[in-house]
């Protein structure tokens, strides 16, 4: 076969694959923006909740990067989120960096640094010991923030964060419109970047590591180096979420650095489906609304109901809500061919 015809066949066989994933990128962005608009129309008086969901969605996306794409078991992901939140808050309160974009950069750096630390420590172990290490880490981070109260405000929280208007134009208003718009913008940008990253050579390497790290080593690549790198990326994403939370609520509390938040983010991820960015988003939205609605309707038993929902999903839709739906659609399409 000549070079020209060979390149032709390669091009024709790969074009549909590329087009399909690009279409899904656009569809994903469109869905995020559409949901954001619907949320705005349905809950104009509760934009704070919607913004909180957006920040948590960033946390769950960051968890998906290490757990869903690399197979790392962790119950300490809030360490990355909380570090981002405190970094943004401390920048504003102690260093007078009140420009929201600069606070965001602080959050990203803080989260990425926490990601580096957590990645290096957690990768010392595998399986159950790894999980225990992650729990130990989140408690250490929590305790550190509690003790360093001159910087963090300790258990009272870090208050007095007063961000400047976004781009000098949009003040963070009482209704939370600017914060919500800012949050949705950040989520859309992060989502688009992550779609590129999970499809990149690096994303492919990580999927390989998750399936068989020994095979990856036999190809001359270091699973540890790759996962630490993913942890840093994950920390940056969680840091965006943390900074968004600090900017929108104007306080940072110890709860942002808690085991509870870590565990909840894992629950949300499993609920939606690991190893898919759409799954992470779906899980967050369903869990957060469920929590909000059910806890308002029945404040005493809402956790029981969340538990029941989770058991139902694990038993009947083990790939999570999105994962199961996607598999179902794929099967139908296969059958239809």
């Amino acid at each position: 076969m000549t070079m020209a015809t060979m390149n032709d066949t390669v091009a024709t066989t790969t074009a549909p694959v590329k087009r399909r994933s690009f279409g899904r990128d656009l569809a994903g962005l469109a869905v995020i923006l559409a949901l954001a608009a619907i949320g705005y129309l349905l809950f104009p008086n509760n934009l704070a909740l919607l913004t909180r969901i957006t920040a948590i969605a960033l946390l769950v996306l960051s968890l998906d990067l290490v757990t869903g794409y690399c197979g790392v078991a962790t119950l300490g992901q809030a360490a990355l989120f909380g570090s981002g939140a405190y970094a943004a808050g401390i920048a504003a309160v102690h260093f007078g960096i009140t420009d929201p974009l600069l606070m965001l950069v602080s959050g990203v750096l803080g989260g990425a640094f926490a990601g580096l630390v957590c990645g290096v420590v957690i990768l010392r172990a595998h399986g159950l010991p790894q999980l225990v290490l992650s729990i130990a880490l989140i408690h250490l981070f929590h305790e550190f923030a509690n003790k360093a109260s001159s910087w963090t405000g300790g258990s009272d929280g870090l208050a007095g964060i007063a961000p400047d208007p976004l781009l000098g134009l949009f003040a963070f208003d009482l209704w939370g419109r600017t914060a919500y718009g800012f949050g949705i913008g950040l989520l859309a940008v992060v989502f688009a970047l992550l779609r590129l990253i999970v499809r990149s050579p690096f994303g492919m390497l990580c999927r390989g590591i998750k399936e068989d790290p020994i095979r990856i080593r036999a190809m001359g690549a270091s699973p540890r180096v790759a996962i630490v790198k993913m942890y840093v990326l994950s920390g940056a994403v969680a840091g965006v979420g943390g900074a968004l939370n600090a900017i929108s609520t104007q306080v940072v509390g110890l709860d942002s650095l808690s085991f509870t938040l870590s565990a909840e983010s894992l629950v949300m991820l499993v609920l939606g489906g690991t190893g898919s960015l759409f799954g992470a988003l779906a899980g967050t939205i369903v869990f957060m609304f469920f929590e909000d609605i059910v806890s308002a309707a029945n404040p005493f038993h809402w956790l029981t109901m969340v538990g029941a929902l989770l058991i139902a999903v694990v038993l009947f839709a083990p790939r999570g809500l999105y994962g199961t739906a996607a598999a179902f659609v794929a099967r139908r399409r296969e059958a239809g061919r």
Partner: protein
Amino acid sequence: MSAIFEVRNLKRSFGGLAVTDDVSLSMAPGDRVALIGPNGAGKTTFVNLVTGNLKADAGDVRIGGESVTHIDAIGRVRRGLVRSFQVTRLFHEMTPAEHVALAVLQRDGRAGRLFGHFLAMPDVMAEVGDLLGKLGLRELMHRRVSEIAYGQQRLLEIAVALALKPRVLLLDEPAAGVPQSDTGRIEEALADLPADLAVLMIEHDMDLVFRFAKRVIVLAAGAIIFDGTPSEVTRDQRVREAYLGSYANASHAA
């Protein structure tokens, strides 16, 4: 020619039992060596030791004259010592194209790239298409590995190893589990290997061994008991004794 791959006095025992017992061998570029021996002779263990997947108790391994004894498995691959696995180790959710592309990108130090897609990298795709074409996997390149036949998975295992452009290739029973009808493909692939590549193949199928190898090494109970030409090996008394009562005898009788 000077040795590209050298093993000196390699030793390893499991619970007092020597599974690799003072093994030494040396290979030059272009060598075609078959490593044979009864089940449990320690052939796979030998591969695990030299590739650094398993720690040796003693001995020295050299690639291109450089001692790699204190270098880990990843470093040895990067120096050109590549293996395939006796039981295929592939990524079931990925396609053959992704496997080979990942190996090519890794070899070129591009596997850490955060942007771009291999399907849009013409140089990578040319190599992927070329390699998979040679192994008859071109039509299947975008199927998931879990959907392709085991014989084809064995071929993909070889493709991944070749994509790393090794200097020394260790193939652990490349035809094991492949239906008779498909072994032809594997043989063609073996005949087509780069001429300057040093290949050591572990294989039980003696027909394949005789067609492939210019040199045969026999391992029994962890020690090399024969190292010579294929024509001599069948006449060697110790080799016969080692195989006595084992499956090889049975299959010859059958």
